[in-house]
């Protein structure tokens, strides 16, 4: 936690209202996101109890499993969820654009991609488990499920995997998206409660954020946003309703379970759309569209894989898969951090505090400065910047700047409040710097030791060449006729 974020929390305590942590929105927000609130039966790994889902705040769809221990009912739930999710996903595959690439074949990319928003991190984990428990199911033979169920499972797995990728917006947890943009006057642990977090950020009229957050902790006023339900609700309301259904199997008893869970889901449904509204009111940061492009490309690729009849995602990554995934994630994280800083002075301020970045005024500029002679002569414009930031950078450190995104500079020396740097990239290829590429004396500038350059992927062996020390090549997936340990869902 940066001192800046800590200070923001202190201010929130002091004022009773959440404080901004960002001046722009750092996650893509779809024009038509799908909100999904799953509930799980307590004590079970992945037995769905209910869900509320939809793209229209005014028309939530309620799915209920009136007896979550009944396998058939659970898969009926999965089929019903597929009925909502798959048309949404398939509808987005229709419109594509051709992307030209230098030195490579052009490819087709969907112009939009699905965006599913769930309440919190636990809901993301539940989506992953639901994907795991449905993607290996089969549509024929004994214990057949509806053909849409395994397809749903693969998409849920796809979404859950994207959610681990820094900067992806395919599957968002509302609490995390909100916490990225606002600081509350409570702990991060308490921020995981959506109602309480929203209480701080958007309290009802006449209440401070602090008061609204306290009220939101009462599960009778604000039922938990799932997937776990309130134990009091379970014992007083849900258990008798499920028992009544188990005994009578009547529509009326099923409806009673439905009404019970509806009472738990509706408040969260409204909260989710309020969160969407608040995020939507922030202007999107410049890097958001590029990151969403990554989501769109990944979506397009997975849709193609599915259409070609590829196998379901394996249960575990092989050694090479895991290592290359880790390397990819680390790069994505670094690049995501850099992009947000360059997009948002408030995020940059956090880096300035630690001395990795600074803001100041140009004192002197030598735009025609060059190094070397003859054919080796290189244009290296020099700048001296006066700053009061606590700069902690070594000579030779590469710097970027939000004002000129393609540009790179290098620290020459730092003395007192003066930083001298030379521009090494992004000032044109001529003998003199291209107009506007070198800041003028008196200009406010910001430089940071954050790079979001493309780095070539780490060199790892192909999966079939996995060394024996790492388990050897992963076995090819041979779909078993039966995967018996899967037969009972929970």
């Amino acid at each position: 936690m940066s001192t800046l974020a800590a200070l923001a929390r202190l201010r929130a305590v002091h004022t009773g209202a959440a404080q901004r942590l960002a001046t722009v929105r750092h996650c893509h927000l779809s024009e038509r996101p799908m909100v999904l609130i799953p509930l799980r039966l307590a004590g079970e790994a992945a037995a769905p109890l209910a869900a509320m889902a939809g793209t229209d705040p005014a028309r939530p769809r309620l799915l209920v499993v009136p007896q979550p221990r009944d396998r058939d009912l659970r898969f009926a739930f999965a089929a019903e969820l597929a009925e909502i999710l798959l048309p949404y996903i398939e509808g987005l595959q229709k419109a594509t654009e051709t992307v030209e690439r230098r030195g490579a074949e052009p490819f087709e990319r969907c112009v939009d991609a699905p965006q599913v928003i769930v309440p919190n991190r636990s809901a993301v984990a539940f989506v992953q488990l639901l994907g795991r428990s449905t993607r290996f199911r089969r549509a024929e033979g004994e214990y057949a499920v509806h053909p849409s169920v395994p397809v749903l499972g693969r998409w849920l797995t796809f979404l859950a995997q994207r959610a681990q990728y820094p900067g992806s917006a395919s599957l968002l947890a509302a609490t995390e998206a909100m916490s990225l943009h606002w600081a509350t006057g409570q702990s991060a642990l308490e921020d995981a409660n959506l109602a309480s977090l929203m209480g701080w950020i958007d309290p009802p009229p006449g209440m401070t954020g602090a008061e609204a957050a306290r009220e939101a902790e009462d599960p009778l006023v604000w039922p938990p946003a799932g997937p776990a339900t309130d134990p009091g609700f379970d014992s007083e309301v849900l258990a008798p309703a499920i028992r009544a259904y188990a005994e009578t199997r009547s529509d009326r008893a099923a409806a009673r379970v439905g009404e019970a869970v509806r009472s738990q889901l509706e408040p969260t449904w409204r909260l989710m759309w309020r969160a969407v509204g608040l995020l939507g009111a922030l202007p999107a940061g410049p890097g958001v569209a590029a990151r969403w492009e990554g989501d769109r490309a990944s979506f397009t690729g997975f849709a193609a894989q599915l259409a070609e009849g590829g196998p379901p995602q394996p249960k575990r990554d092989g050694a090479v898969g895991a290592a290359s995934r880790l390397a990819r994630m680390e790069r994505a994280q670094a690049s995501y951090d850099a992009q947000r800083a360059y997009d948002d002075p408030l995020v940059m301020a956090g880096h300035r505090l630690t001395g990795e970045a600074f803001t100041g005024t140009v004192l002197a500029a030598d735009p025609d400065h060059a190094e070397g002679e003859g054919r080796g002569r290189k244009l290296r414009p020099l700048l001296t910047v006066r700053t009061s930031d606590p700069v902690r950078l070594a000579a030779g450190t590469r710097l970027g700047t939000p004002e000129r995104r393609g540009q790179q500079a290098e620290v020459v020396e730092i003395t007192g409040g003066h930083v001298t740097l030379k521009i090494v990239k992004g000032m044109g290829r001529g003998r003199t710097a291209s107009p506007g590429s070198v800041p003028e004396v008196g200009e406010r500038v910001c430089y940071a030791a954050l790079t979001d350059e493309y780095q070539p992927p780490a060199s790892l062996p192909a999966p079939e060449d996995t060394p024996w020390t790492h388990g050897g090549p992963p076995p090819e997936h041979v779909p078993a006729v039966e995967e018996p340990d899967e037969e009972e869902w929970a």
Binding site: L10, V13, G43, A45, A46, D234
Partner: protein, 369 residues
């Protein structure tokens, strides 16, 4: 230990179950909790009377699921468990005996059942492997700050090659070799309590306590089926933490000695057990022992809402969690930190660095937002 009885009032000390004992290690720096626990005070009742009932509860579905799974593992003389132990520890076929130490008929006292457990464990420790293998429902005992707590674990102790192991049965699933880390950690902490209690019992009987293995067998449902699977979990670390905390609790005397004479947390229950002590009075008493609130308390301590409210009214930065406190370099209150940030407060010695950072942060915040 009279002083502890006086602190508690005229009610029997609340027995600690393994979950409560495991939770003792959660916030070792909290004097309030150490004193209340050492005195065996019912913290839940105290919190409720103070108007801050604890936010905990367990769903009946979770309880049922736990019981059903345990019954499955143990049915037919622990047939499932025997399969697992034969697989992962190579338990030889002839070792299949099962003794239910809890099945003694009638409804005898904990003390009686404990001595039954002791007698059988003593015999098991003396004799060779054919004396017995699985011991279900051992009634163990652990001394906590001078009070005896009986632990009634739903665990099985089993013996192989002269060594005892604790088997802990939990109903959370292990999916593709992974379980929720906090659930595994909680299970390990709880199992460590049983390992310690079993070691104490053996030691009292004159056997080598090291004959109880620090490797416990954790049995959980695998994937989405109900089929039990077993994993060995090393609980050495948990044992060390637990021992340390129990030792602290026996040293709680120093804290207790420093308390106001006459201080008590007695709820003054009426004939029906309902507390009659004036709330303001009790509040003063509880405040007489310092707490160290942290947001983690919200999941472990019955008094959490009371202490949080207290921390809020004092404007303590503890409220915001350890990360924030670390970022603030230990500045204790919100007002102080904000004063340092806007320059209205002169930093004390040693606070210069954090004051400088806060002022800078304050300036930047104003500059860019």
């Amino acid at each position: 230990m009279d002083r502890l009885d006086e602190l508690r009032g005229p009610v029997p000390p609340r027995p600690h179950d393994a979950r409560a004992i495991a939770a003792l290690a959660a916030n070792p720096g909290c004097a309030r909790r150490a004193v209340l626990d050492a005195a065996g005070i019912d913290k839940d009742a105290t919190a409720t009377h103070l108007g801050f009932p604890a936010p905990f509860g367990q769903s009946p579905f979770a309880i049922t699921r736990g019981n059903v799974f345990e019954a499955l593992v143990k049915e037919s003389g622990c047939a499932e468990l025997l399969r697992l132990l034969r697989e992962i520890l190579g338990l030889p076929i002839p070792l299949a005996s099962y003794t239910d130490l809890g099945d003694v008929g009638g409804n005898p006292s904990a003390h009686l059942r404990h001595s039954h457990t002791r007698r059988l464990l003593d015999r098991a420790a003396r004799d060779g492997d054919d004396a017995g293998t699985l011991y279900d429902h051992p009634l163990l005992r652990l001394d906590i700050a001078g009070h005896t707590s009986y632990l009634e674990p739903d665990v099985v102790a089993f013996r192989l090659g002269g060594r005892f192991h604790i088997v802990e049965i939990k109903s959370f699933s292990v999916i593709d070799g992974q379980a929720e880390p906090d659930k595994v950690a909680a299970a390990a902490r709880q199992a460590a309590v049983y390992v310690l209690a079993l070691r104490d019992t053996l030691e009292e009987l004159g056997h080598d306590p090291a004959r109880v293995s620090h490797d416990v067998v954790l049995v959980c449902p695998e994937n989405f089926a109900n089929r039990p699977a077993a994993t060995l979990v090393d609980v050495r670390r948990e044992l060390a933490v637990l021992r340390r905390q129990l030792a602290r609790m026996t040293r709680v005397g120093a804290i207790v000695d420093a308390l106001e004479p006459g201080l008590t947390f007695d709820l003054v229950p009426d004939a029906g057990g309902a507390p009659t002590r004036p709330v303001a009075d009790l509040r003063e008493a509880v405040r007489g022992v310092g707490a160290r609130y942290a947001p983690d308390c919200l999941s472990t301590c019955d008094l959490c809402f009371f202490c949080r409210d207290e921390a809020a009214s004092e404007g303590s930065t503890d409220l915001l969690g350890r990360q924030v406190r670390d970022a603030l370099g230990g500045v204790a209150t919100v007002a102080e930190a904000l004063g340092l940030a806007d320059g209205s407060l002169i930093p004390d010695e040693g606070q210069e660095e954090i004051a400088r950072l806060l002022r800078l942060a304050d300036r930047m915040y104003a500059e860019v937002s």
